[in-house]
Structures are given as structure tokens and as C-alpha cells.
């Protein structure tokens, strides 16, 4: 085989070029921390990475959804607790009124307190979470209840202004959960009970109080308990969902890292090897300019 000067320099430049190309890739990987910057460097890796990124985003969003739902439910639970307290106090007052020997003044003072309780109930019904009324169904911008005073009779009644729509959260694709309690179902019976109680008080009808009103408030307290249980169950479901989403996130982040992150020690080792190759190629290149026949001709 003939070897000419140009062949040697062609070989040298080709080897240097190839070596630089490989080093360039390693430098890229080290400086970005990623296995590839363009899909063509690793199409399947890019696909996995795009999918994983997407899944992480979605997962993140669902986690946010679940967290807001949890906040909402915690808030509802607190409110139900307060409602329970009002109901309890009402029940105590009923017991007091039932035992009261007939004396209108004491009924009146009880009625005063009941009225305060009713005001408190109205306040609770119109609780806002953020800037939304939580017991108005989907009519979140209007208070759940308003107090209406009949101009003729002076009679006070409470009107529900909301609707029966649900406030829904998405926990997963296709898994939508309605997490609000229907304000009318929660409050209307209680308003009615308080209304009846006050009427009986003003009539001094301790008989009706000890029988009808007492039974009604007990029923109402049971209802509150049932509603709290319902809210609690939903809360536990949220907790489970959150755990699942957190687990999934760890898993997804790992697969994203697998798809696109470089194994730094490995790349450094490979880069070192490549640098050695490059160095030797350069050293070999320096020797191509070794003495030729020309140097020996006078």
C-alpha cells in the first residue's frame, strides 16, 4: 500500500474531527445535565421525556385540585362544627324553656338569645371562602340567605338565594367530585326550627317546645353529624388521592430523570477517555511533520 503525505493528514483530520465530535457531545451533556437537546439525538428518550413532563404537569395540577378541595372541606367541617354548637345551645335552651314554669319574661329572654343564635346562623350560612359564598350552590357571588322582614306583619323570614348546583373538583380525568353541601338542605330546617321555637316561646307553649321542637332539634343534630361524617369521608378520599398523586409524582420524576438526565460520573469517565484519544491523535499529528527525504538531500 502506498502511503502519501496527504493521506496521513486526511486521516489525522478525520480522527481529530471524530474525536472532537464525541467530546462536543459529552461537553453538551455535562453542561446541560441532559442526555440530549434535540429529539434526533434520542427520539425515544425525547418522547418519554415529553410524556413524563406532561404527566408531571397534569399530576401537579390534580394535586393542586385536591389541595384546594381539602381546604374547602376543612372549612366546611369547621362550619358544621359551629353549626353543631349552635344546635347544642338551642337544644339546651329548649330544655330550659320546657322546664320553665310559666313566666313570659323568662321566655322572652330565651327568645332574645335564640334570635342572636339565628343571627349567628345567618352569618354562618353566608360564610365566604375566598370571595365565594360556600353555601349558595353555584351562585357563589350571592349570599346563601337573606333576611326578609314583612313590612306589614313585621314577621322575619329567611330566604335561600342560592341554587342546588354543585361545586365540582376534578381529581383525575373523568373523576369529578362535588364537594359543597347544599345550603338549603343544611340551613333551611334549622331556620325553621328556630322560627318555630321562637313562635312557641312567644306563645309560651312549653308543651310544643318540649315535644315538637326538642324532637326536631335532635333530628337536626343527627343530620349535622351525618353531614360531618360525609365531609370527613370526602376529606379522607382527598387524602388518599393526594398520597397517590405524590407517589405518582415521585415515580414520574424518576422516569423523567431516567429519560433525560445524564449519568454524570459515567460521562466524565467517557470524556476523560476521549480526551486521551484526542491527545494521542494530536501527538501523532505532530509527528507527521517528521523528517522526510528532503531533509537529507543536499
Amino acid at each position: 500500500m502506498r502511503v502519501t503525505d496527504r493521506m496521513m493528514s486526511m486521516n489525522l483530520s478525520q480522527h481529530l474531527h471524530n474525536s472532537m465530535r464525541r467530546m462536543d457531545k459529552f461537553y453538551d451533556q455535562l453542561s446541560t445535565g441532559k442526555k440530549f437537546s434535540r429529539p434526533s439525538e434520542d427520539p425515544m428518550g425525547a418522547l418519554f421525556s415529553m410524556r413524563a413532563r406532561n404527566d408531571i404537569e397534569i399530576n401537579d395540577q390534580f394535586r393542586k385540585n385536591v389541595e384546594s378541595a381539602e381546604d374547602w372541606l376543612n372549612n366546611t367541617d369547621n362550619l358544621l362544627d359551629n353549626l353543631g354548637k349552635i344546635a347544642h345551645r338551642t337544644s339546651e335552651l329548649m330544655v330550659q324553656a320546657a322546664n320553665e314554669t310559666y313566666e313570659q319574661t323568662s321566655f322572652d329572654s330565651i327568645a332574645k338569645e335564640v334570635e342572636e343564635l339565628r343571627e349567628g346562623l345567618l352569618e354562618l350560612a353566608n360564610t365566604r371562602f375566598g370571595d365565594r359564598y360556600i353555601f349558595s350552590g353555584q351562585r357563589t357571588q350571592s349570599p346563601a340567605y337573606e333576611r326578609v322582614i314583612d313590612t306589614g306583619t313585621g314577621e322575619v323570614s329567611f330566604n335561600y338565594l342560592g341554587d342546588d348546583g354543585g361545586i365540582t373538583f376534578r381529581l383525575a380525568p373523568g373523576a369529578e367530585v362535588s364537594i359543597n353541601l347544599n345550603g338549603e338542605e343544611v340551613f333551611q330546617p334549622f331556620f325553621d326550627i328556630l322560627g318555630n321555637f321562637m313562635e312557641n316561646l312567644s306563645n309560651g307553649d312549653s308543651q310544643a317546645i318540649s315535644q315538637d321542637d326538642k324532637a326536631a332539634i335532635n333530628q337536626q343534630m343527627d343530620n349535622f353529624l351525618a353531614q360531618r361524617a360525609e365531609v370527613g369521608a370526602l376529606g379522607r378520599r382527598m387524602e388518599l388521592s393526594k398520597e397517590r398523586l405524590l407517589d405518582q409524582e415521585v415515580h414520574l420524576r424518576k422516569s423523567l430523570a431516567d429519560a433525560e438526565s445524564v449519568d454524570i460520573p459515567k460521562v466524565i469517565a467517557e470524556l476523560n477517555m476521549e480526551e486521551n484519544v484526542y491527545r494521542s491523535a494530536l501527538a501523532a499529528g505532530a509527528r507527521i511533520v517528521q523528517p522526510s527525504l528532503i531533509d537529507f538531500l543536499r
Binding site: 500500500m1 502506498r2 502511503v3 502519501t4 503525505d5 496527504r6 493521506m7 486526511m10 486521516n11 478525520q14 434535540r38 429529539p39 434526533s40 439525538e41 434520542d42 427520539p43 425515544m44 425525547a46 418522547l47 421525556s49 415529553m50 410524556r51 413532563r53 406532561n54 404537569e57 397534569i58 395540577q61 393542586k64 385540585n65 384546594s68 375566598g130 365565594r132 349558595s136 350552590g137 353555584q138 351562585r139 357563589t140 357571588q141 341554587d163 348546583g165 361545586i167 365540582t168 373538583f169 376534578r170 380525568p173 373523568g174 369529578e176 433525560e260 522526510s292 527525504l293 528532503i294 538531500l297
Partner: protein, 473 residues
């Protein structure tokens, strides 16, 4: 035989070695000239002198008369040349494709936090946020802004691809011009070579030039080269002559109505289409029609599907202002899709709610917290509405990026392989045709000594003649 004949022989030897040294000098001078093949001066014994005489006094017959140069030829392996042309053409294809696909990848910019996939995801994320808070004008604003970002990204990628497609088209025309110019020059060289050969010369350097130009041509397109009896190279593409002896047929790039007014190629002299199989021009055309054009089409498909499906849901919902029936997106195709300006101006017209009433209603009839329509919109993300119901919009988009990636990877690898192949064949050719300076130096010494010896011969002959003439005195 006369004494004077020796002068002749010496002179011939001087001349022959002189020429051989000239050739060596030419070789050394062109050691680094691209396309140069080393030349050799072919030395042959000169015609011997026969002595067919009646009175031949028994002398040995056929007296040698020295040396002469019969031809100066170049050392080439024509098979390797042919291989180089073939592989160069394929290298042109793959290198060209790799460059084009890298550009397309850059337009798509995936995977990243700014690409279409990310903006698409962001839009749905905001929508999700709105589903929890449909009464919030700030969140509505955010949904609309993100939708605009999404449509802007669609527009940007589509239009970048469009501009690039035009650039590729312009390049096709420029490259065709290059082909025609090369063909012209090769035809010219053919003429000169045939003429020189007619005088019995070997036009080595012209042939080198022609070789080089032909290789440039091979990079551009797939060519077949055939040498005719007179030394012309006839070059054809797909069965039609591009160069025939000393004339060139032009290829014409004309605006093809059947292909969006983009350039197609035909032969100027007979109107037949030019069929390309490889080379840079083919890569440009493929990049223009199969890649850029095709990906634009598919982006369109996504944009149109998104707009249609989203609009049909949006139309059925009611906005906070009680209005209904509005489109959310407008514009057909990825290049022109945008958010309906009415929605941009009236955030409350975004139809988050589903109510029982139909038509525009009093705003009071729309519950602010009703996000039922948004939930339907969110489901759209996971619905398989592309490719005959087999892929979601995001799946479909990802399949585009993956396809570009796979094509790019293939082109990259093939290009790299082809580089290696070409440089290997070129090395083989260098092995045959390349100038080795050591070798030339060796030859130089040989020829120098030959030259010296011949001059010595002449000067000795001169002395001999001197003594001979002195005898007479």
C-alpha cells in the same frame, strides 16, 4: 554508425530526463491541489537503428538510439472515481436532510418549557384552575392569555416552517443554476479535451479539472458518467443527457401550479420532468415537500381539530354575561388560529357554565360558580379525536416530534456513515493517485543522475572528438 549519433542519443536522454524532471516538479507543485492525480512521464527506448545493408560487416544489428518520452499520463483508478461520485451523491442527500431536519427541530423546540407541548399543557392547566373558580375574572384573563400564547405558538411554528419552506424552494432554484453552470463548464472542458487529444496530447490537467467539477455535480444530484470514444464525458440524469460532448442541456426550475407554485424541474429542450434520486437538490425538494410541507399539514390538523372541538363545546355553554353561541378560537389552520376578539374583550363571555335555557339569557340566570362546560372542555384533552380516534391531540403532536427526531437521527447517522465512506474511498484513491513527496524526491534524484550522466556522456564525446580532430592536425 557514426560517432555523431552518440550526440543524438545523449541529447535525447537529456531531453527525456529534463521532461521527467519537469513532470516531477509538476507533481511536487501540485501535491496539495484538490483533484490532482500524480503524473508519470513514460520513458521508452527510442526506435533502434536497423542495419540491413548488403555490406553489413557482421556488426550486431539494431543499434539502440536512446530514450524518449512517449506520453505523460496520470495514474488513476476509474472505478474508484465512479464510486466517489456515487457516494458523494448519497452524502449530499443525507447531509442535506440532516441539516433541514435540524432546522425543523429547532422550530419545534421540543422538549422544552416553551414549545407547543408546554403551551398546550399550560392552557389546559389554566382551564383547570378556572374550573375551580369560574367566577374569577383574573383566572378568566389568565385562561385567555394562555390560549393566546398557545395560538401564537401555533402561528409562530407554522409560519417559521412556511418561511423555511420558501427558503428551501429558493435554494432549489439556486442549486439548479449551479447544476447548469457546472454542466456548461464540463461541456466546455469536454471540447478542449477532445481537441487536445486530436493533436495526440494527453490533457491531464484539464481532465483533473473536469473530474473535480463532475464531483461537485455529483454532490448536487445523481449522475451517470460515460466516456465516449473521443474522450468526452457524457453525463446523464435519469436517462436524459445533461452534458453531451461539448454541449450542455439546461434544467429549468419552473413554478409548478400543481405544487403550490413551488419549483419543479424539467428539461428545457424537451420539457420532460427531471427525475432525481439523490444529491443536495433532492434533499432540498424532500425537505420542502415531505418534511416542511407535511409537518405544516399536520400542525394544521391539530389546530383545526382543537378549534372545532373546543368551539363546539364553547358554543353550547353560557358566559357570565348570559351570552352563548360564541366561538372561542377563530381561524382555520395553525397559521391563522387565534382567540376570538369578542372573548378577549369580554372575559365574561367565556362560556364556563351549562344551563338549561337556550340562547342568550339574563346574566342572573347563569350561576357564577357553574363550571360544567369547563369540565367538558378539560375532557377534550384526553379524548382520542385525532387519526380516526386513535390519538389525543397531544399524542398526535408528540408523534410529529418523534418522527422528526427519528428522521433526523437516521439522516445524521447515514450522513456520518456516508462521510466515512467517502473519505475512505478518497483515501483509497489517494493511495493510487496521490503525490508522495518522498517518492518524488527519489525520482528526482534518479532523473538528476540520469541527466548528469547524459551530460557527462556528451562532454566525454566532445573530448573524444577533440582528440580525433587533433589527430588530423
Amino acid at each position: 554508425m557514426s560517432n555523431f549519433a552518440i550526440f543524438q542519443t545523449g541529447l535525447r536522454s537529456l531531453r527525456a530526463h529534463q521532461q521527467a524532471l519537469d513532470t516531477t516538479a509538476h507533481n511536487i507543485a501540485n501535491a496539495n491541489t484538490p483533484g490532482y492525480a500524480r503524473q508519470r512521464a513514460e520513458m521508452r527506448t527510442h526506435h533502434p537503428m536497423a542495419m540491413p545493408a548488403m555490406n553489413n560487416n557482421g556488426q550486431a544489428g539494431q543499434m539502440g538510439t536512446g530514450v524518449h518520452i512517449t506520453e505523460i499520463y496520470q495514474i488513476r483508478d476509474y472505478f474508484l472515481d465512479q464510486q466517489v461520485r456515487h457516494e458523494l451523491s448519497l452524502q449530499g442527500t443525507w447531509d442535506g436532510e440532516a441539516k433541514i431536519l435540524t432546522r425543523i427541530e429547532a422550530f419545534l423546540n421540543e422538549p422544552s418549557d416553551e414549545g407547543l407541548a408546554a403551551t398546550f399543557s399550560q392552557f389546559f392547566k389554566e382551564l383547570e384552575a378556572l374550573s375551580q373558580y369560574p367566577e374569577s375574572t383574573a383566572t378568566r384573563q389568565s385562561v385567555i392569555e394562555n390560549a393566546r400564547m398557545l395560538t401564537d405558538t401555533f402561528n409562530q411554528i407554522y409560519n417559521q416552517l412556511g418561511t423555511y419552506r420558501k427558503d428551501l424552494n429558493d435554494s432549489v432554484e439556486a442549486r439548479v443554476l449551479e447544476i447548469n453552470t457546472l454542466a456548461e463548464r464540463i461541456a466546455d472542458l469536454n471540447g478542449q479535451i477532445v481537441r487536445a487529444k486530436g493533436y495526440g496530447d494527453k490533457p491531464n490537467d484539464l481532465m483533473d479539472q473536469r473530474q473535480l467539477l463532475t464531483e461537485e455535480l455529483a454532490e448536487l444530484t445523481n449522475i451517470r458518467v460515460k466516456e465516449d470514444n473521443f474522450g468526452s464525458w457524457n453525463i446523464s440524469i435519469g436517462g436524459f443527457h445533461l452534458v453531451e460532448a461539448d454541449s450542455a442541456h439546461e434544467i429549468e426550475a419552473y413554478e409548478d401550479e400543481e405544487n403550490d407554485g413551488l419549483f419543479s424541474l424539467r428539461w428545457e429542450h424537451n420539457g420532460h420532468p427531471v427525475t432525481l434520486r439523490s444529491g443536495k437538490v433532492e434533499a432540498l425538494i424532500r425537505g420542502r415537500d415531505e418534511y416542511t410541507g407535511n409537518f405544516q399539514e399536520r400542525l394544521n390538523e391539530i389546530a383545526i381539530t382543537l378549534a372545532e372541538e373546543f368551539n363546539s363545546l364553547h358554543q353550547e355553554g353560557h358566559g357570565l354575561d348570559g351570552s352563548t353561541g360564541h366561538d372561542f378560537f377563530q381561524g382555520e389552520g395553525a397559521g391563522v388560529i387565534s382567540v376570538n376578539p369578542h372573548i378577549i374583550d369580554n372575559r365574561s363571555a367565556f362560556a364556563a357554565a351549562i344551563i338549561e335555557e337556550e340562547g342568550d339569557v339574563d346574566p342572573d340566570l347563569v350561576p357564577e360558580g357553574n363550571a360544567d362546560n369547563i369540565f367538558r372542555m378539560l375532557e377534550l384533552r384526553d379524548e382520542r379525536i385525532m387519526e380516526n380516534g386513535t390519538a389525543t391531540m397531544e399524542d398526535f403532536y408528540r408523534s410529529i416530534t418523534t418522527e422528526i427526531g427519528v428522521l433526523g437521527q437516521k439522516a445524521d447517522r447515514m450522513g456520518h456513515n456516508q462521510d466515512n465512506l467517502v473519505s475512505n474511498i478518497k483515501k483509497k484513491r489517494e493511495e493510487v493517485s496521490g503525490v508522495s513527496l518522498d517518492e518524488e524526491m527519489g525520482n528526482m534524484i534518479r532523473f538528476q543522475h540520469g541527466y548528469n550522466a547524459a551530460s557527462r556522456l556528451i562532454s566525454r564525446m566532445d573530448e573524444m572528438m577533440d582528440s580525433l580532430i587533433a589527430m588530423v592536425r
